[in-house]
C-alpha cells in the first residue's frame, strides 16, 4: 500500500472514538473507493476495500469492549473469535454489504463461569452489531448475526450445533453448513475458529451424503443464460432490462467453487484463493483456473457497478446491473463468462455425483 492517504484512513478507523466517527470514515472510504473503481485492478480493489471493512469491524469490537468495561462488565472472561460469514467471510464485500457475523468463545470449566461468558458475549455482540449498524452496515435479513444467540456460542456448543446439522441435513441445516464454510476469523483467537473448521471438514469427509445435499442447495441459482446463449434480463418493473449479477452470475460461481473446495478439504474462504488452491492440487487445470479467475474478477467488477440505493442513510444494493451501465463489449464478455460458469456448474455436478 503506497497511498499515504489510504494508510491515514485505516489509521483513523483503528483509532476512531465512537460510531459517529466510524460513520464519517465509512463515507470517506466509500467516496474514495468509488473514485478508484475505474482506475484499479479488481482484485486489488476488493483487497483494499475489505481491509477497510475488516478495520471497521475490528474497531467496533474494541469500542464495544471498552464500553462494557466502562459499564462495569469487565473484560472478556475467556478468549473469543469474531467471525464474518458470507461475502465478508470470503473478503468479497462490496461497498454496500450487510453484516453477517458470529462469535465463538472458549469453554469454561464450570457451569457458572460458562453462564457468565454467555452473558458477557451476548452483551458484547449486541453492542458490536449496534455500532456497526450506526457505522452504516445494515443487519443481515436472515438474522445471521453475532447478536443472535444461535450464532454466538461457546466452542463446545458450536460443535454440538454443527453435529446436529450434519446429522439432519434438511435444507436449513445445509444452508447453515454452507454459511459456516465461508466463515473467517476477523478478530480475536484464530485457534478457536481453526478448531471449528477441523470439525467441519472431518464431518464432511465422514459423510459424503452431505456434499450431495450441498450440491442440491447450491445449484438452485441458475446462470442467467437461455439455451440460445442470450442474457436473461429482468422482464418487468423498474429494473426491467437489468441483469441480476448477484444471483445470476456471482453467486452460482461462488457456490460451484465453494463446493469443489469443500470436497478438496480446502480451508480458504475467498473464492479466488479457493481457485488457486484447487489449481495447486491439480483439481482444476491451469488454463481452466486462469479462465475462472478472469471471469470471476469480471463478475466482481460488474457487481461493484450494480445499482446502489441509499435508504435511511444506509448503503444497499439489489445486485442488479441496469442495461444502461452495461456496454455492448461488457455484455459480450459477460455472456462468455456465463457460458464458462454454466460449464463449471456442470463440472461440479458431475464431479460431486461421481464421488457418491
Amino acid at each position: 500500500m503506497t497511498d499515504p492517504g489510504w494508510q491515514q484512513l485505516l489509521h483513523g478507523i483503528a483509532h476512531a472514538d465512537d460510531s459517529a466517527s466510524l460513520h464519517r470514515l465509512r463515507e470517506l472510504v466509500h467516496d474514495r473507493m468509488v473514485a478508484r473503481l475505474p482506475l484499479q485492478g479488481t482484485e486489488q480493489f476488493y483487497g483494499e476495500l475489505n481491509d477497510a471493512h475488516d478495520a471497521f469491524v475490528q474497531r467496533a469490537i474494541q469500542l464495544a469492549q471498552f464500553e462494557l468495561a466502562r459499564l462495569g462488565r469487565g473484560v472478556p472472561p475467556v478468549p473469543f473469535a469474531y467471525l464474518l460469514f458470507g461475502s465478508g467471510g470470503r473478503r468479497e464485500q462490496t461497498l454496500l454489504s450487510d453484516q453477517d457475523s458470529g462469535i465463538i468463545y472458549a469453554d469454561s470449566l464450570s457451569q457458572a463461569e460458562q453462564e457468565k461468558s454467555s452473558q458477557y458475549f451476548t452483551a458484547l455482540a449486541d453492542r458490536i452489531v449496534q455500532l456497526l449498524l450506526e457505522t452504516g452496515y445494515p443487519l443481515c435479513e436472515g438474522n445471521v448475526l453475532s447478536s443472535n444467540p444461535e450464532w454466538c456460542r461457546s466452542l463446545s456448543s458450536w460443535r454440538v450445533k454443527l453435529n446436529g446439522w450434519f446429522q439432519e441435513p434438511a435444507w436449513e441445516a445445509v444452508r447453515y453448513l454452507l454459511i459456516v464454510a465461508d466463515s473467517r476469523c476477523v478478530y480475536g483467537e484464530t485457534g478457536l475458529h481453526d478448531e471449528l473448521k477441523d470439525d467441519f471438514y472431518g464431518d464432511v469427509i465422514r459423510q459424503p451424503i452431505i456434499v450431495k445435499r450441498m450440491l442440491e442447495n447450491t445449484m438452485k441459482h441458475k446462470v442467467l443464460l437461455n439455451i440460445f446463449g442470450q442474457l436473461l434480463r429482468e422482464q418487468y418493473g423498474e429494473d426491467a432490462g437489468s441483469i441480476d449479477i448477484k444471483y445470476g452470475a456471482y453467486i452460482p460461481m461462488v457456490n460451484a467453487i465453494r463446493l469443489l473446495a469443500i470436497e478438496a478439504n480446502l480451508r480458504e474462504a475467498s473464492t479466488l484463493d479457493r481457485i488457486r488452491s484447487l489449481e495447486k492440487l491439480g483439481l482444476v487445470q491451469p488454463g481452466e483456473a486462469a479462465e475462472c479467475i478472469e471471469i470471476f474478477l469480471l463478475f466482481l467488477r460488474l457487481r461493484m457497478m450494480t445499482t446502489e440505493k441509499i435508504e435511511n442513510g444506509q448503503y444497499t444494493t439489489n445486485g442488479k446491473l441496469s442495461s444502461s451501465k452495461l456496454s455492448k463489449e461488457m455484455a459480450e464478455k459477460l455472456k462468455n463468462g456465463l457460458k464458462l460458469g454454466k460449464k463449471l456448474q456442470r463440472k461440479v455436478y458431475r464431479h460431486t455425483m461421481s464421488r457418491l
Binding site: L224, L225, N226, I227, Q235, Y236, G237, A240, G241
Partner: protein, 452 residues
C-alpha cells in the same frame, strides 16, 4: 339408459301397435335429423365457450374487476343475440345481398321446421350467432379493466350489426372473398382476427391501464388474480372448439367432421407444447401463461385449416402458432400496447398465421372436396391460394380495424371510453356496479366525508 328406452319402446308398441307399421322416415329425413342434432350440439358447445371467455378474462385480470369482467359477458352475449337476430344475420347471410353485404332476413323469422330436408334455419342461425358472440368476446380483451360499461353496450350493437357480419358475408356468405376462393373453414379470420382487430382499436384508443408501463417505457407485470380460472378457461375453450371447428362441417355426412376434430386436437396440442418449450428456452423458466396462450393460439391457427390439411401439417401449424404467440406477446409489450388478455397475440397474430397457413398446407384433395379454393403451396407448388389467403386476411383485418377504430374514436369524442382514474383504481366492480365480485375479500373504503 338403453334398457329404459327399450322398455318404454316395447310399452309403446303394446299400447299403440299401429305405430310399428307407420311409414319409415326417408333416409334424407334421417340425415337431416342427424345433421341437425350435430349442428345444434355444436352451437351449444360454441355458446359454452363464453364460459371459457368469462373465466379467461376474469382470471387474467385483477380481483377488483372480477364481477364486472365476468358479468358483462352475460349482458353482451344477450345484447349480441338480439342485434344479430335483428340485423347481423341479415347482413351476413341475407338472401338479396351483393358481393359486399347481405340484405334481407332482418328480424329473422325462420321456418319452424326443416324445408326439403335441409338443415333447419333456426339451428343454422343459432350456430352462426354463437360465432358472432365469440368474436365479440375476443374484442373485449382489449377493453378490459378500464372501459366504461356504456362502451360495452354501444359497441356490442355496432360490432354485431356492422363489423362482424360484413366480414362473415365476405368469406362465408358468398361475398367477394368467397368468390376469390378464400378458405377459412371455421373462422381464423372471420371470427378471431375480426375480434382481435376490434380489441386492438379498443386498446389503442383506451390507452394502457394505469401502472402497466413506466415512464422509461419498461413494462410492469399486472398479474391476473386467478391462474386456475385461466387454465380452466383454456380447457373449456378447447372442448368448445370441437363444436366450433368440427361443427362447421354443418353435416355428419361421411364422417368428415371427425377428421376436422382430429386436426383440431393436433393443432391445440402443438400450440401448447411449443409455447411452453419456447418460454423455457428463452426465459429459463416454463411460463404457465404462455403455455395457456399457446394452446389457444394453436386452436385459433388450426381453425382456418382444420378441414384442409394433413395431420402433420396440423401439428406444424400448432407448433408455429405456439412460438408465434410467445414472441407476439413480447412485441406488443415492447411497442407499449397493453393487451391484458393477450387477445392481440392469441387471436390476432395466430389468426393471421392460421389463415396464411391454409395457403401453404392445404391439400388439393381436400380443397376439391370442400369446393372453395385450391390446394396450397406445398401440395400444388402454386402460390395462388396463398395469395388469396393473404388478400382475405389483409382486407378483412383492415376493414375490422378501420371500422372499429372509427366507431370507437367517435364514441370517445362523444361519450368517452374510459372510467376516471379514481374509478379505475377503485375497480370497476365498485364504480360500474356498486358491488365487489369478491365482497369478503375486498372491503369498500369508507366513503370520504367531503362535507366535513
Amino acid at each position: 339408459m338403453i334398457k329404459k328406452m327399450l322398455i318404454s319402446i316395447s310399452a309403446m308398441l303394446v299400447l299403440f301397435p299401429t305405430m310399428a307399421f307407420a311409414e319409415d322416415p326417408s333416409s334424407a329425413t334421417l340425415n337431416m335429423g342427424l345433421n341437425s342434432l350435430w349442428v345444434m350440439l355444436s352451437a351449444i358447445l360454441v355458446l359454452l365457450m363464453q364460459g371459457g371467455f368469462i373465466l379467461l378474462e376474469t382470471g387474467s385480470t385483477r380481483m377488483k374487476n372480477a364481477g364486472h369482467v365476468a358479468g358483462k359477458t352475460i349482458f353482451t352475449v344477450g345484447l349480441c343475440s338480439l342485434i344479430y337476430w335483428a340485423v347481423g344475420y341479415g347482413v351476413a347471410f341475407g338472401a338479396s345481398g351483393n358481393d359486399f353485404f347481405g340484405w334481407g332476413d332482418f328480424l329473422f323469422d325462420p321456418s319452424k321446421v326443416s324445408v326439403d330436408n335441409a338443415l333447419p334455419p333456426t339451428i343454422f342461425f343459432l350456430f352462426q350467432l354463437a360465432f358472432a358472440a365469440v368474436s365479440l368476446s375476443i374484442a373485449w380483451g382489449g377493453f378490459a379493466e378500464r372501459a366504461k360499461f356504456s362502451v360495452y353496450l354501444i359497441f356490442t350493437i355496432l360490432f354485431t350489426a356492422l363489423i362482424y357480419p360484413v366480414v362473415a358475408h365476405w368469406i362465408w356468405g358468398g361475398g367477394f372473398l368467397f368468390q376469390d376462393g378464400a378458405q377459412d373453414f371455421a373462422g381464423s379470420t372471420v371470427v378471431h382476427l375480426t375480434g382481435a382487430m376490434a380489441a386492438l382499436a379498443g386498446t389503442i384508443l383506451l390507452k394502457p391501464r394505469i401502472g402497466k408501463f413506466n415512464k422509461d417505457g419498461s413494462a410492469n407485470e399486472i398479474l391476473g388474480h386467478n391462474q386456475v380460472f385461466t387454465a380452466l378457461s383454456v380447457l373449456i375453450l378447447w372442448v368448445g372448439w370441437f363444436g366450433f371447428n368440427a361443427g362447421s362441417t354443418l353435416a355428419i355426412g361421411d364422417g368428415f367432421f371427425g377428421y376436422v376434430a382430429f386436426n383440431t386436437q393436433l393443432g391445440a396440442a402443438g400450440g401448447a407444447v411449443a409455447a411452453m418449450l419456447i418460454s423455457w428456452a428463452v426465459l429459463g423458466k416454463t411460463d404457465i401463461g404462455t403455455t395457456l396462450n399457446g394452446a389457444l393460439a394453436g386452436l385459433v391457427a388450426i381453425t382456418a385449416s382444420c378441414a384442409f390439411v394433413d395431420p402433420w401439417a396440423a401439428v406444424v401449424i400448432g407448433l408455429v402458432a405456439g412460438v408465434l404467440v410467445f414472441y407476439s406477446t413480447r412485441f406488443f409489450e415492447k411497442i407499449r400496447i397493453d393487451d391484458p388478455i393477450f387477445a392481440l397475440s392469441v387471436h390476432g397474430a395466430a389468426g393471421i398465421w392460421g389463415t396464411l397457413a391454409n395457403g401453404i398446407f392445404a391439400t388439393e384433395e381436400l380443397a376439391t372436396k370442400l369446393n372453395t379454393g385450391k390446394g396450397g403451396l406445398i401440395d400444388t407448388g402454386s402460390w395462388d391460394q396463398l395469395w388469396v389467403q393473404l388478400e382475405s386476411v389483409a382486407v378483412s383485418g383492415a376493414y375490422a380495424f378501420a371500422v372499429s377504430f372509427i366507431i370507437l374514436a367517435v364514441m370517445k369524442k362523444v361519450m368517452g371510453l374510459r372510467v376516471t382514474e379514481e374509478q379505475e383504481i377503485a375497480g370497476l366492480d365498485l364504480s360500474e356496479h356498486g358491488n365487489y365480485g369478491y365482497p369478503e375479500q375486498l372491503k369498500k373504503s369508507s366513503t370520504p366525508n367531503i362535507g366535513a
